[in-house]
């Protein structure tokens, strides 16, 4: 993974319209990294407010991963909260802020996959269209309808290919990092990614040129 500071995923929670302004008001990349490292060290020493700052740093990433994978806001909130409670218990075993980022991504992804598998064992009446309605739409740019349709279509993918696509395009992870996150061989990840993209192209979505 890239270092947190300056990473597009790190500032990904900032809305595109405010991106320029926020970046201008923020300190340079290494300083953001130092702040996160400082929060991590303080949280590890037992400082609750530092831990809350860590939660704020990662909550968009963790919640969105769970939301894109499960398709339900309630489940996503529950999973993301559980992940942060787990993080609080595991802080002593983590080495750095970067390690925290990897740990939360990995944990929430695996928990979401477990939930999807449990859900598959107990089929519920809710349709994919209903799930799509629950996913909040915050499209400040581009085609909101296309984005919404893409998210809904993604929910039709099986859990592992879905996780591969979400980690690739939400977290901007390369196949090697995705393989490490999902405990899969890199060739399996590449194959899932290629086949998922082929499948999405075959869904007849009109892409802007």
């Amino acid at each position: 993974m890239h270092p947190i500071a300056g990473s597009p995923a790190y500032i990904g929670s900032v809305s595109p319209t405010s991106l320029t302004l926020d970046l201008a008001s923020l300190p340079a990349g290494p300083l953001i990294g130092q702040a996160v490292d400082g929060d991590f060290a303080a949280a590890r020493a037992g400082d609750t407010s530092a831990f809350v700052r860590l939660v704020r740093h990662h909550q968009a990433r963790v919640f969105s991963l769970a939301l894109r994978l499960t398709g339900r806001r309630e489940d996503a909130e529950e999973l993301a909260q559980d992940t942060f409670l787990g993080l609080h218990a595991q802080l002593r075993n983590l080495d750095s802020a970067l390690h925290v980022r990897h740990w939360v991504c990995r944990t929430v992804t695996h928990r979401s996959i477990d939930l999807l598998r449990a859900r598959a064992r107990r089929p519920q009446a809710q349709s994919l269209d209903q799930m799509m309605l629950e996913v909040p739409v915050e499209d400040a740019s581009g085609d909101p309808l296309l984005h919404r349709t893409l998210r809904a279509v993604l929910l039709r993918l099986p859990e592992i290919p879905r996780a591969v696509v979400v980690l690739r395009f939400q977290e901007d992870l390369d196949p090697l990092d995705i393989a490490a996150t999902l405990d899969l061989p890199i060739n399996t990840v590449k194959s899932h990614l290629r086949r998922s993209l082929d499948w999405l192209r075959g869904q007849g979505l009109e892409m802007p040129r």
Partner: protein
């Protein structure tokens, strides 16, 4: 990550990246995590508070003493059992010696009586020949 990727993104990939932009769950989410953390940290305190401190102070040595006395009692019982077995073996051995001695005495008496009978018979035969 994508930084080193020289390959340009196609429209579908760009659309995926845009539609999967992270969504912040808001301040309510952070507050919920804080509340759950506080609840989780309170739980063990409530649990410990259920046992009064004074009671907890003497509960530990008492349980240690109880365990130690059980161990000592078991060890003493085992030793006593060993002693009882040794004593029984000794008694059996002494009884065997006594029975053996009695048998020897009985054989000795019998042999003496048989000798007397033989001697009488020989005297009787001598008397008959002289007549």
């Amino acid at each position: 990550m994508n930084a080193g990727d020289a390959k340009p993104m196609e429209p579908l990939e760009r659309a995926l990246q845009a539609s999967l932009r992270p969504v912040d769950p808001g301040a309510a989410f952070t507050a919920a995590v804080q509340a759950r953390l506080a609840a989780a940290s309170l739980r063990p305190l409530v649990h410990t508070a259920a046992v009064p401190a004074s009671r907890a102070r003497w509960l530990y040595p008492l349980s240690v003493a109880l365990a130690a006395s059980i161990v000592v009692a078991l060890a003493v019982g085992w030793q006593l059992q060993e002693l009882r077995l040794l004593r029984h073996a000794e008694q059996v051995r002494l009884e065997q010696v006594r029975v053996k001695t009695q048998l020897l005495v009985a054989l000795e008496i019998t042999s003496e009586r048989l000798g007397q009978v033989q001697r009488r018979l020989e005297q009787y035969q001598l008397q008959e020949k002289s007549l």
